[in-house]
């Protein structure tokens, strides 16, 4: 009797099965242990801040909170980007080396499902890690903001400021606390990590070693962070009296076509740390850009992987 199960071109259910197995794999590899030093760092920063903070008379209160946010968001960005590359780089080569891939691809599993499942698994782990770090940031920032706000209130009252002025000062402090703006910054870092994971997925489909994938992933991370500066330098050279040559223009175009541009991600994260206004439109653009990059790199990975022989 023929097997009754039909294989569709793409099955979200199969993608979720592979993704949940990847999550279990990473969780049982104890990858979340890195959250312990992160938690220690976030809490430690509190003491560090207290050590150098002599009160509102020596430092603008918002600056104190901005410093805390910058350090915490920087830590989150570093860990999520690092793990986006490392986790993804580890997963496919290890499946090939262990021949686990043989047994998976010999079941009715389209290669796109396998790749999408692996990527979704890594992104889910990153999302959980980001969520925990975000929670830690919100808690520590909440206490820090409360301390700074109370100090400021006491200081301004002592300086005979009116109640309205005290309230205005404290509202400014609250704006630098755990607000929705802060979450935009966290989302920007998560979006960047998603793009880096998709880039690492693409590299791992043709690379023969984990080390190469990780090294290339880091290179792309760096290039992506600075490509807008390089591109501006090339294309806007005329403004400084120097017309870009053909080779420069080709190089600039190639860089912008091949590598992701992290400028928008960093601009939003930066604005979030400074508690500057971020438009919903910008966030939608960021979401669209993330989906576009992840989609393009996943489809490219599929093109490479679909013809790969094992």
């Amino acid at each position: 009797m023929s097997n009754p199960y039909k294989t569709s071109f793409f099955s979200p259910r199969r993608v979720i099965i592979i993704a949940s197995s990847t999550v279990t794999q990473l969780v049982r590899m104890k990858v979340f242990y890195f959250l312990a030093p992160v938690a220690l760092l976030f809490v430690g920063l509190q003491f560090f801040d207290n050590l150098f903070y002599q009160g509102p008379e020596t430092m603008v209160p918002e600056q104190q909170l901005r410093m805390h946010k910058n350090l915490c968001l920087g830590t989150m960005m570093f860990f999520t980007s690092l793990f986006a590359i490392v986790f993804t780089a580890l997963i496919i080569p290890s499946d090939i080396e262990d021949r686990t891939l043989y047994t998976i691809l010999c079941k009715p599993v389209p290669r796109l499902d396998y790749l999408a499942g692996k990527l979704l698994g890594v992104l889910s782990v990153l999302f959980i890690a980001m969520l925990v770090m975000d929670l830690l940031l919100v808690i520590t920032l909440h206490y820090r903001a409360a301390t700074v706000s109370a100090d400021l209130g006491r200081y301004l009252t002592a300086m005979n400021f009116s109640e309205i002025e005290v309230a205005r000062g404290q509202a400014e402090v609250a704006r630098h606390g755990p607000t929705l703006l802060l979450q935009y910054g966290v989302l920007a870092h998560f979006g960047k990590a998603c793009v880096l994971a998709a880039v690492a997925l693409l590299i791992s489909t043709f690379s023969t070693s984990t080390l190469f994938t990780i090294a290339s992933g880091f290179m792309i991370w760096i290039i992506g962070s600075f490509q807008s500066v390089a591109r501006d330098g090339i294309f806007n050279a005329a403004e400084y009296g120097e017309a870009p040559g053909l080779a420069d223009r080709i190089l600039g175009t190639l860089i912008s076509l091949i590598f992701p541009d992290f400028q928008l991600f960093e601009a939003i994260a930066d604005a979030s740390a400074r508690a500057q206004e971020i438009l919903l439109d910008d966030m939608l653009k960021l979401g669209g850009l993330t989906l576009l990059y992840v989609g393009i790199y996943t489809v490219l990975s599929w093109f490479v992987f679909s013809d790969k022989e094992f």
Binding site: N3, K6, I17, R99, T100, Y102, T103, C106, K107, P108
Partner: protein, 294 residues
Amino acid sequence: MNDVAAVEVHRLVKDFKGPFRGKKVRAVDEVSLRIAPGEVYGLIGPNGSGKSTTMKAVLGLVRPTSGNCTIFGRDSLKVDSRNDVGFLPENPYFYKHLTAAETVKFYGKLCGMRGRELRNRAEEMLELVGLQDARDRRLRGFSKGMLQRIGLAQALVQDPRLVILDEPTAGVDPAGSRQIRDLILNLKSRGITVFLCSHLLEQVQEICDRVGIMHEGALVNEGRLDDLISMHDRTEIVLENASEELLDQIRTLVEVTHDVNLVSEGNPRTTLESLFLKETANKRVRKSQKRLSK
């Protein structure tokens, strides 16, 4: 009656590119074979003879340079064809973080199974391979034989019509090896087609209906095991209670001697091992003669 072959390999050629645009290496050269449903087919050959590449082409893991492979009439490069296949690779490794039961369920889910059907099937498979006591143990601590058995369980989870086994008893102790052999015989009795590669010629001889011998990428001999190992230029007479004198005159006397029972008459057999060595040696001699004549 089903005329569709379980596996059909038609003039399969597979070339691998050499490094830095070097010379192409032909791993499989015009191989054609047909495995009927319910048959146990063994592919044997020395290391590097192209057995594994042929198997991978049948599984769609490598793309033929020319020729094609089908599984129950469906192109093996199409994902759909794998609904009917269970595969056990040589020295299989699975996700070490999963338990035995989780592993079988994982592969079952990939085949579209779910719910009670999946749970029952996973338990049934663990029982079949004798691993029900180790169902909650992670594979990290499994022996080679246990991994081989869990490999068989995952290969069979979706009740495939074809099972492909690459060196199923490699590195397994004699008891485990016998257990796997019994499992293959059990599959055969259930009408499941088995396509296996093995270096253990005795085992192949014991369980296969038909055998193909590969050497340097080509299928040098193929056929029913009984036919292949029969020596057609000789006749074997098995007698009961025959004296020494009688044996000397047996050819002339057997028809007229009434107190001797002729139990059976047939072709004496060589071993599959001898045939294998002869075939591969002949090919080597032919190749060196060809080289000398150039």
